[in-house]
Amino acid sequence: MTRLLPHPVLTPVLAVIWLLLNNSIEPGQILLGLALSWAIPVLTIRFWPEAVSIQKPFALVRYTIILFYDIIMANFTVARLILGNPDKLKPSFVKLPLDLTSDLAISLLANSITLTPGTLSAQLSDDHSYLLVHALNETDPETLVANIKQRYEKPLKEIFESC
């Protein structure tokens, strides 16, 4: 089972991407898409040794909605900061201690941080215990860390690491 279908999540995602690429739902395309999305994970199994497991799909949907809302708000915040006086900006580096352990969850968190209000993930420490975050205009680093942990890290932990 694990050999024939190493990534149960990846297969449907690849099939949907194939159909979107072709922009059609003809039976031939569906069959070809399913065949490709089965073959690609089997052939690339050495590249992705760990199977992705999503514990709570609904939490993932909720997370995505929150993220999209934050991205839109981030655009307005950053636009205002850029149009304002650049000399008044107080950029700073903030160390964000990580509770997440899985690589996928950490990379999703780093991506979310980069996409949201005035923050940019700059570096992951070698032992995966800290993420270095660059903030465009931050006077209160502790609130920022608490905010990120509450808003993004907690749901990600629930989704990808059940405990």
């Binding site: 991407i17 922009n23 050495r46 655009n75 636009a79 650049p86 900006l89 950029p91 660059h134």
Partner: protein, 146 residues
């Protein structure tokens, strides 16, 4: 009516993309400059793509969904490139308006006053140190399978 909505989306997209590019000119250092293109462009390009999807769905014979793929790929790749640029900037120890983190806080911090010869030596030793582990890691999945 549809045209008003589409022109609104296209204008919003254009304005945000412009502000994102403006950030490159107005902001003062490498790190703050990264903020403009990575963020202001997501909404900018996003609304342009939504406008394109609606227009071609209304005009063409079938619904056009290519734009959603572009959006997904953009949202995945833009932060990665920004992350790599920021990492490189830290490694090269570029000047920063923000106070830079102390070197031992982040293990791979920039080479402070290390000259290049020493640095390449270091890189060599870490390479060889990593190799046996990597080989083990490659073998490990095979063992679990059999």
């Amino acid at each position: 009516m549809l045209e008003f909505f589409l022109s609104f989306l296209i204008l919003t997209g254009a304005i945000f993309t412009f502000i994102g590019s403006l950030g490159l000119v107005r902001l003062k250092d490498m790190y703050t400059r990264l903020h403009g293109p990575t963020k202001a462009t997501t909404l900018g390009v996003g609304s342009l793509l939504i406008a394109s999807a609606i227009y071609f769905s209304a005009q063409g014979p079938s619904i056009s969904l290519h734009e959603f793929l572009i959006t997904i790929f953009l949202l995945i790749t833009a932060p990665v490139s920004a992350h790599l640029l920021a990492k490189t900037a830290l490694h090269l120890n570029l000047t920063s308006l923000a106070e830079k983190p102390e070197k031992d806080a982040i293990d791979q911090g920039g080479p402070d006053e290390v000259d290049t010869a020493e640095e390449t030596e270091k890189a060599d030793t870490t390479d060889t140190a990593v190799k046996p582990e990597a080989a083990e890691a490659l073998q490990a999945p095979d063992q679990t399978k059999s």
